[in-house]
């Protein structure tokens, strides 16, 4: 189980995250929606300590980290229990698709090379890129790069997979294949926390949708409730704007 308590992040004087509380059950798929600049990405980045939270506690399985006195070891443990999929893919530019997927297994998890290779090849097949194992990121399309990005996250075997607007940087023609892959990751029971602007996808994949504005969770519930019967006027306005 994942529990976030009082997670707060300030940039300069403004609180981008305002004491966020959130629990995610094992296997649950939570989608975060909301206007830009309301802290959705910061929430994900703080869970991974890519941005260091100013206050709050993050618990993933039996790892529990207090943001105000997180040690280097705490941060590593937390990162190793989670996986991050970036908007801009973030593939290691000097490594092939297969090496990208293997990297965490070899360097971080210290698994034997043969084992890591076998797993990377399994994942490459799963993400439909078995024939691109030896291609470098620069020679892959945006959609292919993001599939490798998801493949790299899958390899870690994380308790929680974080998706930070995984399709926002993609040309429209590649969005479908990335969403398809996320569906198949979801079908494997992976716990997922997803920030996205793809509302139809959110409705389809989410067990729960969270609407954030101004660094707070304003409303949350099952997709049918959030999209068909929104209560808060801010959510109503937001939905009117994105569907227009």
């Amino acid at each position: 189980m994942i529990r976030i308590e009082g997670l707060t992040k300030r940039f300069g004087g403004t609180a981008v995250l305002n004491a966020i509380d959130l629990e995610i059950a094992k296997g649950e798929r939570v989608v975060v929606i909301g206007p830009s600049g309301t802290g959705k990405s910061t929430l994900l980045r703080c869970i991974n300590f890519l941005d260091r939270p100013d206050a709050g506690r993050i618990t993933v399985g039996d790892i529990s980290v207090d943001a105000t006195r997180a040690s280097r070891a705490d941060i590593l443990a937390l990162r190793r229990a989670t996986a991050f999929v970036f908007q801009n893919y973030g593939l290691f530019a000097h490594r092939t698709a297969q090496e990208n997927i293997m990297e965490a297994l070899i360097t971080v998890q210290k698994r034997p090379r043969a084992e890591a290779e076998a797993q990377a090849r399994r994942i490459l097949k799963e993400i439909g890129l078995a024939d691109k194992a030896d291609s470098y990121p620069a020679s892959l399309s945006g959609g292919q790069q993001q599939r490798v990005g998801i493949g790299r996250a899958m390899a870690i075997g994380a308790q929680l997979m974080l998706f930070d607007e995984p399709t926002s940087a993609l040309d429209p023609e590649w969005v479908g294949e990335v969403l398809d892959l996320m569906r198949s990751v979801a079908a494997q029971g992976q716990t997922m926390l997803i920030v996205t602007h793809e509302m139809r996808f959110a409705r389809e994949i989410a067990d729960r949708v969270i609407f954030m504005e101004g660094g707070r969770i304003v409303e949350q519930g099952p997709p049918a409730q959030i999209f068909d019967a929104p209560q808060d006027p801010r959510l109503q306005r937001f939905l009117a704007r994105v569907s227009a």
Binding site: L76, F86, G90, I156
Partner: protein, 216 residues
Amino acid sequence: MLGLVPVILGYVPLTLAMASAAMVLALVLAVALAVERVFRVPILDQLVLLFISFFRGTPLLVQLFLFYYGLPQVLSFLTAIDGVTAAIMGLTLHFAAYMAETIRAAIIGVDRSQWEAAQSIGMTQGQMMRRVILPQAARVAAPTLVNYFIDMIKGTSLAFTLGVTEMMGAAQKEAAGSFLYFEAFLVVAVIYWIMVEGLSQAQKALEIRLNKAYAR
């Protein structure tokens, strides 16, 4: 004049050995200095800045004289150091200061997404530098570093001033005996030139290899 060629060629291995040893040591030192400059370890950072400032701010020849002729008067254990060792040390420290800045700039130039991706998969800082950042910085820094190596090869001729008989010293001796000054130094110049040209070819091959991942 042609008789001079094999005599002076006989000293090429010494020149290359001095330059290669200094290059390897300077690279190791420069990477350490550069990484420190990126992470700015308190106190150490001031020392590194002072080191870089001094070795960039004074001429190589002055540094060599200071170490070989000057320092042993103050630190007696340095008396035992021979000219070759002193030259290698001097070249190492001098060029490490320059290379550190090149490498630091290359490290900082590695895209932020690469640092974050490395962190997100749970790498330690050491793993991140070794596996992700330095290999990518190497590609950017390589042409400049090869340039410094070229400078270093030519810089070994200053070992002559520390009493080392290398190519320059050998030419000087030959010329003094035969009065063929022009010929002797011309042979030295041409041999240096050929070595550097060879290195330029090697640089092209190296760049192609380092750019392999970035071809579209």
